[in-house]
């Protein structure tokens, strides 16, 4: 295992200490239970946004705490959803009296832990709503399974809902906007390499030089299928076509195109992927009016890419463009 770490069991704590030292202007980091809260929290009369999940997806979620985005993020162990104890403490720390929205990625662990946290928070008289993001078209949806994973749309939902909260909307309204983002957003990802969970010490799966995994999530789990390595243009086509098919985007729709690195894929390759994704979107008559390109929702050092499409309406466009100031996303201020 080649990582810039000290001891595997110290990875999350030391990373959080680094965040605390680096971004003391924007966030305060609380330890035991671990959560990152916006420096101004609680912001009075603003709906508070709380998210969280396993560590290893940086900058998500901790890097998205700040003005115009999250009020708090709860980092679990690497790839392990945080505990209700963390979520409850964060909820209490950021509730500004207007209620708290939990943005939850659809994984059994995340869903159950946030459920328990919501039960506990309500017992303490805090108004809580949860929205579950499940945008990964690689997973067949079904009533009998855990359903689709929450991936790229989560980043977009946190930005857009954060702006909605700053605008002063009610909890129910911010939750509706979050559901709209989940409804309008779809993603799919692939891996060129596996990643190594620090305490596991070796790659989660072995991938030969000439093979790749299509339909992966963000926890280093193998994908839907393994196949021989293909040129970037073909790979991108394999990712974006199911996305476009799944949510019938109509010709003429305005969309945001999000090309994300799984952590180890550099920008030069992302732009090659973006080029093809943008061209295919145009072929389908879609208008790419916004985009996001970079490492935003990662799987440790995994090399690979995920593509997310979000259909934009006037509200979502305005909220996307609104000022944001977090360690991981910043514009307009």
């Amino acid at each position: 295992m080649k990582k810039l770490i000290n001891h595997p069991e110290d990875v999350v704590r030391e990373e959080l200490e680094g965040v605390a030292l680096a971004h003391s202007v924007l966030v305060k980091v609380h330890f035991d239970p671990n959560y990152i809260a916006r420096i101004q929290a609680p912001v009075k009369n603003k709906v508070a946004l709380v998210s969280g999940g396993g560590s290893g997806h940086e900058p998500m979620h901790g890097g998205f705490v700040g003005y115009g985005m999250l009020d708090a993020a709860c980092p679990g162990a690497v790839f392990t959803s945080p505990t209700p104890a963390q979520m409850l403490a964060a909820t209490k720390a950021v509730d500004g009296g207007k209620g708290v929205l939990y943005i939850v990625k659809n994984y059994t662990g995340d869903v159950m832990n946030f459920e328990m946290a919501a039960e506990l928070a309500r017992m303490e008289g805090i108004q809580v709503e949860s929205v579950v993001i499940d945008d990964d078209v690689a997973v067949q949806n079904s009533l009998y399974t855990a359903g689709r994973r929450g991936v790229g749309s989560t980043v977009l939902a946190e930005k857009i809902c954060g702006a909605a909260a700053e605008e002063g909307h009610l909890l129910s309204e911010v939750a509706d906007i979050c559901r709209r983002v989940n409804h309008f957003g779809r993603s799919m990802g692939m891996a060129l390499t596996s990643c190594t969970v620090p305490h596991a010490g070796k790659p989660t799966f072995d991938l030969p030089e000439d093979e790749m995994e299509i339909g992966i999530g963000i926890h280093g789990e193998p994908g839907r299928r393994r196949m021989e390595l293909k040129p970037a243009d073909e790979i991108v086509e394999m990712l974006i076509e199911p996305v476009i098919r799944d949510l019938p985007y109509k010709s003429g729709d305005e969309i945001l195109l999000f090309v994300n690195s799984m952590g180890g894929t550099p920008l030069i390759e992302l732009y090659i992927a973006y080029r093809q994704a943008h061209q295919i979107a145009i072929k389908h008559g879609l208008k790419v009016i916004r985009n996001l390109i970079g490492s935003y929702i990662t799987s440790l050092e995994m090399a690979g890419v995920s593509i997310t499409l979000l259909k934009l309406d006037e509200d979502l466009k305005r909220l996307w463009d609104a000022p944001v100031h977090t360690p991981g996303m910043r514009w307009g201020m």
Binding site: P33, G54, G76, A77, V78, F79, T80, S81, P82, T83, P84, A85, Y107, T108, G109, M112, N113, E115, M116, A138, V139, Q140, Y144, T145, A146, R149, V197, H199, A200, T204, F205, G217, H219, G220, E221, P222, R224, R225
Partner: protein
């Protein structure tokens, strides 16, 4: 013949040791169809439990089991945390005030524990989860107590049933949990949660059966 409060403590401590030993093994199972953390999650949780044990050693079985449950809920995370947390919380509810348990009482406690897991996770037998090890174990206990078997025999039966249930997860295609994302690819691998569940019940049989 019954299981004393002290024997329950021995069980918890031994489980902590057994899960520590099997940490890498459970991580490996989880790497194949999940995200390579189940072993670390359980180990982290039971190490936290061990820190709590001294403070509750003089309490009743219910308090001990509920404390274990609360500790797991607040330290494990992932799917394992809420599920095993609920498991011990529910078992604790059934044993409030008890300083010992007979077969029927343990059967009732384990039954409540497994019902809690099912209520929380909505998994059914055959979904390739811990439920596939836990449900057969409860059924085995129930049959044993109907058949008036000894506590010792009943514990052996339930551990054996959990083992068979665990092994039965190998060919299953997962419908719940992270493994379900793999679809057909999840077949051919033993479920990590079913394995940790078997370890808990096997340990119970080992530490509670004295002959």
């Amino acid at each position: 013949m019954a299981i004393s409060r002290d024997e329950v403590l021995v069980w918890i401590k031994t489980c902590a040791a057994v899960l520590a030993e099997n940490c890498a093994y459970l991580v490996e199972l989880d790497a194949a169809i999940g995200d390579a953390d189940h072993g670390a999650n359980m180990d982290r949780g039971f190490r936290a439990v061990m820190d709590k044990v001294p403070g509750i050693a003089d309490q009743d079985i219910g308090t001990i089991l509920k404390t274990v449950g609360m500790t797991l809920v607040s330290t494990v995370g992932g799917a394992g945390g809420p599920l095993y947390g609920t498991f011990f919380l529910q078992a604790g509810m059934k044993t409030v005030g008890k300083m010992e348990m007979n077969l029927d009482e343990w059967t009732a406690a384990l039954g409540a524990a497994v019902d809690g897991v099912i209520a929380r996770g909505k998994a059914e037998p055959g979904d390739k989860t811990m439920v596939d090890a836990l449900s057969p174990a409860v059924n085995a206990l129930r049959q044993a107590s109907l058949a008036n078997e000894t506590l010792a025999q009943a514990l052996k039966d339930s551990a054996q049933a959990a083992k068979i249930g665990m092994e039965a997860t190998i060919p299953m295609v997962a419908r719940k949990g992270r493994a379900s994302y793999l679809g057909e690819r999840s077949a051919g691998h033993q479920d990590p949660g079913a394995t940790s569940s078997y370890l808990l019940l096997k340990t119970a049989a080992e530490v509670w059966v004295k002959d």
